[in-house]
C-alpha cells in the first residue's frame, strides 16, 4: 500500500508537466482482483484494430508482454489487459509503436489498490461528478467500454450509495437495464455522496467484478428567473465634472457565463467614448449562483456624460434584463451655506454686541465728537445750561473735597475741556437772590442735574439744602423728566439714610464713583470717570456767545440755533 502511494506522489508532477505537451505518461487506477484494460494513447488506429502494431513491455524488461489471451496479463488487440490485477502489478509499463518510421513510446503507470477499511472502494480511485438541484441530473458509471460480455452486450449495473445496496428502491433513482447512467430526479443536497456502480466481466468462463466509485457533488441548480441587478437600479448619481467614476454593473445570476455589457445612447460605451474600457467579470456568490458584472472607468467625467442614461444590459436564456444609471451634477449645498451664513451672522452679532458693550461709551463719545455736528441740525430745547450741579454744602470747616471737586475739578473738565455750560449754586448765582427761586429757574434751564454725593459724616449731611434738593429731584423726576447724574465722591456703603428719591435714582440709573484725588492739578477728560460723566451728559450744544446774548432771559418757545463746534 505504501509503495504505490509514494510512487504516485512522485509521479503526479511528472504527469502534469508531460500533459502540457503530449500525454506521454498516464496513470491508471484499479482495485485488486478487478480486471483492467489499458489503452496506449499513441495508438493511431482504433483500440480494437486487429493489427498488432503496438508492443507492450513491463518497465525494465526486454520481453514483450504475451499476446496469449489465457494469460492473466496479456496484450489483446492494442490493449494491455490484467484479468484480474494484483498488487504486484503496480508499476510502469511501456508501449512501443512498431512498423513505424518514427518509433514512439508511451509510459503507463498502473496503481493497484486494496479497498479502504470497511469500504467497497479506495478513495484514490474516485471519479468526481456533479449534479444540480431543481434541474435533476445523471451520474455515469465510467470506463466500462472494454467490459462488454462475450455477446457484446452492455453489462448490467448495480448501484450502491456509501456501499449500501437498495438505492433503486427510492424511485427518484433510475437506472435502465444496460444503461451506464444513474438518473436522479428531484435532486436534493442529501444526494451528495459516494456512489459505487458494480458489474461483472466474464472472461474465459470466470466472472470478475468491475466496480467504479463516483463522488457526486450536488450544487444549487440554475433558476428559471432572470438575473437580478444589484447595481445600477435605475437611479441617478451626483458626480462633479472632471471627477473619476467607476461604472460597475453588478448582477446576481444563477446561470454562469452570461455577459453583461454597458450601452449609452444606443451604442456600446467604448464606441461612445473610446477611453471607456469595459471589463467583464464573474465570481461565485455566497448563496449559490454567481455575481456577474461589467465595469469601466470614467477617469474624468465630461459634459456629454450627463446627457445620457448609461444602460447595463444582460441577455439571458429567458430574455434580457436592463437597468440604467444617470450622472447628475451635484446640487449646491444650500444647507451648508445656510448653516455657515447663520453661524457667521450670529458670531458677528455676538462680537458686535460684545464690542458695543465694552466700548459703548467710547463709541458714543466718538460719534458725538466726529459725526454729530455734521449730521444733526438740532432744534433748540430752550435750555441754557447743560447741567445744574447740586452738591453738599460745607457745614463746618472740614476738608473741603466736594467744594474742590465741584468748584475746581468739574468746571475744569466739563466746562474748559469739554465746553459744557454748568450752573453751580454758590458760583453762578448773584448775591442776594433767593436760593429757591434761583434753583427753580436754573434747573428749568438745565438739561441735566448732577448730584454730588458724599458719605454721611459730621462735615456733611447727605444733602443739606432740602429745598434745593427737593426742587431738583422734583424737576428731574416729575416735571421735566430731566436726567440725573449721581456722582459719589467716595464709596457710599449705606444708602438707608438717603432720601427715597436718591435711592430711587441710584437704583434706576446707578452712580459714578470718583476715585481720583482732589488736587487741583489738571485732570484729563478721557479717564474712565469723565468718559462716564460725558456719556451721561447731553451732546454738546453750546450756543455762540453772540447768540446767547441775543436770547431773552427766559424763553419758552423753541428756536433754531446754530451749533458751534
Amino acid at each position: 500500500m505504501i509503495s504505490p502511494l509514494w510512487f504516485l506522489c512522485c509521479i503526479i508532477p511528472f504527469v502534469s508537466s508531460f500533459n502540457a505537451e503530449q500525454s506521454k505518461l498516464s496513470s491508471h487506477f484499479v482495485l485488486v482482483g478487478e480486471p483492467i484494460a489499458i489503452r496506449c494513447q499513441i495508438a493511431r488506429s482504433p483500440a480494437f484494430h486487429s493489427d498488432y502494431n503496438l508492443t507492450w513491455y513491463r518497465n525494465g524488461s526486454d520481453t514483450p508482454i504475451t499476446t496469449e489471451t489465457c494469460s492473466r496479463i496479456h496484450q489483446r488487440d492494442n490493449l494491455l489487459w490484467f484479468i484480474p490485477a494484483t498488487l504486484e502489478d503496480s508499476g510502469l509499463y511501456e508501449c512501443n509503436e512498431r512498423n513505424s518510421d518514427s518509433p514512439d513510446k508511451e509510459y503507463i503507470h498502473l496503481n493497484v489498490f486494496k479497498n479502504n477499511d470497511d469500504l467497497c472502494f479506495n478513495g484514490e480511485t474516485i471519479y468526481k461528478q456533479k449534479v444540480f438541484t431543481s434541474i435533476g441530473g445523471k451520474i455515469t458509471c465510467p470506463d466500462l467500454e472494454y467490459f462488454n460480455d462475450e455477446n457484446n452486450t452492455a453489462p448490467e449495473i448495480q448501484w450502491y450509495k456509501e456501499c449500501k445496496p437498495g438505492l433503486l428502491q427510492d424511485n427518484r433513482f433510475l437506472s435502465r437495464k444496460g444503461d451506464i447512467y444513474l438518473t436522479i430526479n428531484n435532486v436534493t443536497m442529501h444526494d451528495k455522496g459516494n456512489y459505487t456502480c458494480q458489474t461483472t466481466y466474464t472472461y474465459m468462463g470466470i466472472q470478475h467484478n468491475v466496480s467504479r466509485t463516483i463522488y457526486a457533488d450536488v450544487e444549487e441548480g440554475p433558476k428559471k428567473t432572470p438575473p437580478e441587478f444589484i447595481y445600477p437600479k435605475n437611479h441617478s448619481i451626483e458626480v462633479k465634472l472632471g471627477s473619476h467614476v467607476l461604472m460597475d454593473c453588478n448582477i446576481s445570476s444563477s446561470i454562469s457565463t452570461l455577459n453583461p455589457y454597458w450601452q449609452v445612447n444606443g451604442t456600446d460605451v467604448n464606441i461612445f467614448d473610446d477611453t471607456y474600457k469595459e471589463q467583464f467579470y464573474e465570481k461565485p456568490s455566497q448563496g449559490g449562483g454567481f455575481i456577474i458584472g461589467a465595469r469601466f472607468n470614467i477617469s474624468e467625467v465630461k459634459s456629454k456624460d450627463y446627457s445620457h442614461k448609461f444602460f447595463c444590459h444582460v441577455l439571458h436564456p429567458y430574455g434580457e434584463a436592463v437597468a440604467y444609471v444617470v450622472l447628475k451634477h451635484p446640487a449646491p449645498n444650500i444647507q451648508g451655506y445656510l448653516i455657515g451664513g447663520l453661524v457667521s451672522l450670529v458670531f458677528v452679532l455676538v462680537v458686535a454686541v460684545f464690542v458695543y458693550k465694552l466700548l459703548k461709551i467710547d463709541i458714543v463719545l466718538w460719534y458725538r465728537n466726529s459725526c454729530h455736528p455734521f449730521l444733526s441740525k438740532e432744534v433748540s430745547d430752550g435750555k441754557i445750561y447743560d447741567a445744574y450741579v447740586l452738591y453738599p454744602k460745607n457745614r463746618v470747616s472740614c476738608l473741603s473735597s466736594p467744594d474742590i471737586f465741584v468748584l475746581k475739578i468739574l468746571p475744569e473738565v466739563l466746562e474748559r475741556q469739554c465746553g459744557y455750560n454748568l450752573f453751580i449754586l454758590g458760583r453762578d448765582d448773584l448775591p442776594g437772590q433767593a436760593v429757591v427761586n434761583v434753583a427753580d429757574e436754573k434747573i428749568n434751564q438745565s438739561r441735566r442735574v448732577i448730584i454730588v454725593l458724599v458719605p454721611e459724616s459730621s462735615c456733611y449731611s447727605v444733602l443739606d439744602d432740602t429745598s434745593e434738593q427737593q426742587l431738583a429731584v422734583y424737576n428731574a423726576l416729575i416735571r421735566d423728566g430731566i436726567k440725573v447724574i449721581l456722582i459719589e465722591l467716595d464709596k457710599i456703603k449705606d444708602y438707608t439714610n438717603m432720601p427715597e428719591s436718591i435711592k430711587y435714582i441710584k437704583q434706576k440709573h446707578g452712580a459714578i464713583r470718583w476715585k481720583g484725588d482732589f488736587t487741583e492739578r489738571s485732570h484729563s477728560a478721557s479717564t474712565k470717570f469723565w468718559k462716564n460723566v460725558r456719556y451721561q451728559m447731553p451732546p454738546r450744544q453750546t450756543l455762540s456767545p453772540s447768540e446767547l446774548q441775543l436770547l431773552p432771559p427766559a424763553f419758552n418757545s423753541p428756536h433754531t440755533i446754530t451749533l458751534q463746534r
Binding site: S16, E124, I139, N259, K277
Partner: protein
C-alpha cells in the same frame, strides 16, 4: 450588430482590427463538461472528453472564453480557449468541419471581425446546459462521443452516441 454591419470584407487590414476599440476581457477559468459527466483534457494537441479518475482529475483542461461582439448578442457568441486563453478552439470549414486548437490568444480574437467567425460558437441554453453551434458551420454542434477518451468533435445529429449538451460553469 456584427453580421449586418457593413465591412470591408475578409481582406480587411489587420491594423483595422487593432484600431477598433476592444472590450477588455479579463480571462476567467471555467469548467466545460458534458451531460454524461465527461471532462475535457488535452491529448496530442486535441481536446478529449473522458472520465478522470482519482488524481487524474488535476489534468482537466480549464476553458477560457470571451464574448465575440461582432455577432448578435442574442446568440451568446463566444470564443473558447485553453491554456489560459493562449490557444483557441477553431472550426475548419471543409465538407466535414473539424475542430482544432490554434495558437491564437482569445483576447486578440475578442476584437471581433470576420476573421473570428471560425473561432466563434453561438450558444443555446436549456435546463442548465448549453449547446455550442459553430458560427462558421451553421447546424454543426460541439459534441463528445458516448465513448470516453475520444476527441471533442462536431455533429449535425445529436443522439446517444453524440452528446451535445454541456455544463459550463465558473470553476
Amino acid at each position: 450588430m456584427g453580421d449586418s454591419e457593413p465591412r470591408a470584407g475578409l481582406e480587411a487590414h489587420p491594423s483595422e482590427i487593432h484600431e477598433k476599440p476592444a472590450a477588455q476581457m479579463k480571462v476567467f477559468k471555467y469548467r466545460l463538461w458534458d451531460v454524461a459527466q465527461k471532462s475535457l483534457y488535452l491529448r496530442n494537441n486535441q481536446l478529449v472528453a473522458g472520465y478522470l479518475q482519482g488524481p487524474n482529475s488535476a489534468l482537466e483542461e480549464k476553458i477560457c472564453w470571451v464574448p465575440n461582439r461582432s455577432f448578435e448578442r442574442e446568440k451568446f457568441p463566444i470564443i473558447l480557449g485553453v491554456q489560459d486563453g493562449r490557444r483557441s478552439l477553431a472550426c475548419g470549414t471543409g465538407a466535414l468541419p473539424a475542430l482544432q486548437l490554434e495558437d491564437v490568444n482569445i483576447t486578440e480574437l475578442s476584437r471581433g471581425g470576420e476573421e473570428t467567425t471560425r473561432f466563434t460558437f453561438f450558444r443555446s441554453y436549456k435546463d442548465g446546459m448549453w449547446r455550442f453551434e459553430s458560427a462558421a458551420n451553421p447546424g454543426w454542434l460541439l459534441c463528445t462521443s458516448a465513448q470516453s477518451n475520444e476527441p471533442l468533435g462536431l455533429t449535425t445529429s445529436p443522439d446517444a452516441a453524440h452528446i451535445v449538451d454541456f455544463y459550463f460553469q465558473l470553476c
